[in-house]
Symmetry: D3
Subunit: 135 residues, 6 copies
């Protein structure tokens, strides 16, 4: 029987949306105020879902303490209180849209998670705008 466990975490970061191959007018037309050159920011809320079988010895799919720790070490420490465009290697050349941030977080966590588990990552940029990657 497939069971999923979820863990929520959050980080606060600054960013701007910008395509360097475009003119400022094109950037403003597509990204609107999100392309403001001096950045704005968000309380990013992260929801990580890991699916697998229950281990009969522990009664758990995966120790949530281990997962919370992995997220803290690999995601929160990397992005919390940072300027995504300026302070991180991941978004030096990648537009930090919610979609791209979510894909990057999925890739980071996927590497550290045993292959037998499925992984889905949801990222809230605001309570009304959010994205999801994986299955």
């Amino acid at each position: 029987m497939k069971v999923s466990i979820f863990r929520r975490a959050h980080f606060n970061a600054a960013h701007r949306l910008h395509n360097p191959d475009w003119t400022d007018e094109k950037n403003m037309e597509v990204f609107g105020v999100c392309s403001n050159p001096n950045y704005h920011g968000h309380n990013y809320e992260l929801e990580v879902k890991v699916s697998g079988e229950i281990d009969p010895e522990t009664g758990m799919v995966l120790n949530l303490a281990w997962l919370a720790d992995l997220i803290k070490r690999e995601v929160e420490h990397r992005f919390d209180h940072k300027n995504l465009n300026v302070d991180t290697v991941e978004f030096k050349n990648l537009n930090p849209t919610a979609e791209n941030i979510c894909v990057v977080i999925w890739q980071i966590l996927r590497e550290h998670l045993p292959q037998k588990f499925d992984l889905l990552v949801r990222l809230y940029e605001t309570p009304r705008n959010f994205v999801e990657v994986g299955h």
Copy 2:
């Protein structure tokens, strides 16, 4: 890689549940106080999920501003501060259960969304009762 984006919106409306082929007793038996002839109402909370590939130029599946606008124009303007049974063509002859409202909204949005995208619509009638249509 499949990525999903979500947008939340809301509208406030009156409605009653009623099957005109049934007696009042049968309506009360099946729908309870929801069949009160003078209507009651809800703060409907809507969650729209669109899935597709990330466009490498924008870093987005779909511009969320475009989606927010579509929802405002096609759903909020149509149903907000309305009596669903009386003021709308959609529910003149269709019982406005949460399920039916959700299907109608899914159909409206499906027509305006390019076919390459998947669409799922979730509708909260209250924080404890909600429905979902699509995939």
Copy 3:
């Protein structure tokens, strides 16, 4: 030492804002879409605060089960799944604005509450619009 206890409850109702002494144009100008003649509705969320001394025998200001029961009997049963303008005596001749509904609920509860307790009532019409009466 003054201690306060809070209880939350909710009811779903239809209403419209309307001043019968005004023209339809004036009503529309002041109340906007809220004056739609066929009603709209809300999930009203109620928060009741009662303040007093802790009874050393029970460790409670007031038994929350008693308060929850009072709210159910006197407020929820009266207004839930009703059309406030049509189905209730309280709003036959009183405009059911959030402010007036909140005052009416405060008056109803005040009558049933021993005088030694203070009473404050908060009413959410939506998560973003709410009102408060009492102290």
Copy 4:
């Protein structure tokens, strides 16, 4: 067209995580403070999803009042204000991890639900830690 309906409920319970085949040290190492011998507790929040076709006569997949009742009778009455390890037959010999509680609730509800419906159960142990069973 597949439609899903959701109902939320909750219950408050005490529990501890413990594998009787392990030493106290091993229990503490794996379960941490969750293995405290005198128990701790949670406000468990339950979300039940039932999927099927809309019945054209009622406009509903399933009467939500029936589902709310089923959950109250079979889940809330069984587990609310209980010590899961001590007061319930289900967890006399089964470690009450969020995963196992969720599986047990899924099995209980599955038995009472007509086979044509799909069932998914989500259980929040805290707002940041939760699990899901079914499809």
Copy 5:
């Protein structure tokens, strides 16, 4: 100008309501299922409000990191994953009602907070039942 800062925290604990001077019948009559002898539990949500003047050098009333730390050290470490009736000295002879827990937390924090600040503590036993102490 008076300014207030707030910090939220939480702890998960087991408890039962019980007056040892009463018979079991009287306890059950007053406290209902909350007096279950084997305990139940809650996710307690704590909200601490500190009021004072803004320090012009820091632009802060009080360093929120210091306040968060104080709450973690003095409240969370003391009560998290504990059985309040059994594992704590504070409730050995004091009924752990929400009111009494809130007063105890207020007293603990009051001792560590400079006298120039006002202190108010709100404690959620559930999202619908909560209490407040202080000003």
Copy 6:
């Protein structure tokens, strides 16, 4: 009888905490990661409370549509998707702590609000850290 109305709004902004009279070390010591030179950001959630008498003609303390508009024009347009330290005149020489931002918003709204009304402003920097100004 005193009645209060509340309106919630939000804006997303970047900021950093910094006292230019201090060394970098002192700034880091007091403000921690919040003093990161390249900024971070938040989804600021704003709650505005206006208290006064109910106008018997409208049944309202103040037209919430007018208040929502005032907040949009004077607060959201000024701060949304901005870098508070760089893009605003208000925080050119004032440290944008939550306390100072809240005082500035209180002052802006106070000027536009008739003197007979009381005003209280609450600002959430995150769901767990927030501040309040006024009465």
